[in-house]
Subunit: 153 residues, 2 copies
DNA sequence: GTTGATGCAAAGCATTTGCAATATC
DNA sequence: GATATTGCAAATGCTTTGCATCAAC
């Protein structure tokens, strides 16, 4: 779970981005971001929309998308695309990096870090004359929980 | 470049799949597959559609999609999704595996293999109690050619 | 009072699907 | 002749956009 007090940097960076770009602080943006920060780590637009509507706010889905795109532009969230066509958004903490492991059965997303893999990736890129800017490593499989359920049947 | 004579296994596997599933051999499928095999290694539906139409065949885009999905179901092609929303299809040779490096400037896709990375992935999955079924590793960056062009300006 | 933001409905885009006509087995 | 396939247009699912209204600066 995320402690909201840790997230001051998020709001600060957002404020900085808004004023730098001459964008406005609005009630909708505040509400959407508040709920985004409280939701699970990996969220899609529809999740966020349902949550916000469920709490009684009359905010359109387009505004959810526009706000998530704003956060992406401010480099505050990362946008992923795992199994289906949906975009998944995740808070991006400066200076951190991790990859993802997705369970094909329950859809749970686990994060992991592996420096050795990172080093090897850089080496591969270098060997091929590539100047690496980013990468994406997703592992797909069955998580322990689902695996146990399967074997009990 | 691909030597077509190497691809007998592809046609054989396809024939086997068709008869096993009680599907029919049609002119459209033949034409689409022939052109798919002659095109670049990484192809999207629109590429294939344009190529086939350009050669004078009156085949609908839906049939292209249906055929590519058929090949996917027959385990003869892999479906990727790199930068944009398009699906990219690639011949899948049995017993081979590689990952991809994509140039953000010219879009060129280079393949690479790295056994050490594969081993580390299995280890990571195991450490997290995951039964690994597949993975996706894409590196993004600037290829040598584009990098040289940039520095000359 | 300017300028950007919102909500809604409409448009986009890649892909899939329903259906009547047609080709394959 | 039964059944799968095709082409087309319409539908889909996610996301973006146009525009008139509204809120923030």
């Amino acid at each position: 779970m995320e402690d909201n007090s840790d997230l001051q940097w998020f709001w600060d960076t957002l404020d900085a981005h808004l004023s730098r770009q001459q964008l406005k602080q609005t009630k909708q943006r505040k509400v959407i971001v508040e709920h985004f920060l409280r939701l699970a780590r990996h969220v899609d637009a529809e999740d966020l929309y349902r949550r916000v509507r469920g709490k009684g706010f009359k905010i359109g889905l387009a505004t959810i998308y526009r706000t998530l795109n704003l956060l992406r532009d401010a480099d505050l969230v990362t946008q992923h695309s795992f199994t289906d066509g949906r975009a998944i958004f995740e808070i991006k903490r400066p200076g951190t990096h991790h990859d993802h492991m997705v369970c094909s059965l329950c859809g749970i997303i686990q994060e992991f870090e592996n420096d050795q893999i990172e080093v090897l990736q850089s080496k591969v890129a270098e060997d091929h004359g590539f100047t690496l800017t980013s990468h994406r490593l997703d592992l797909f499989g069955v998580c322990r929980g689902c695996h146990n359920e399967q074997s009990q049947q």
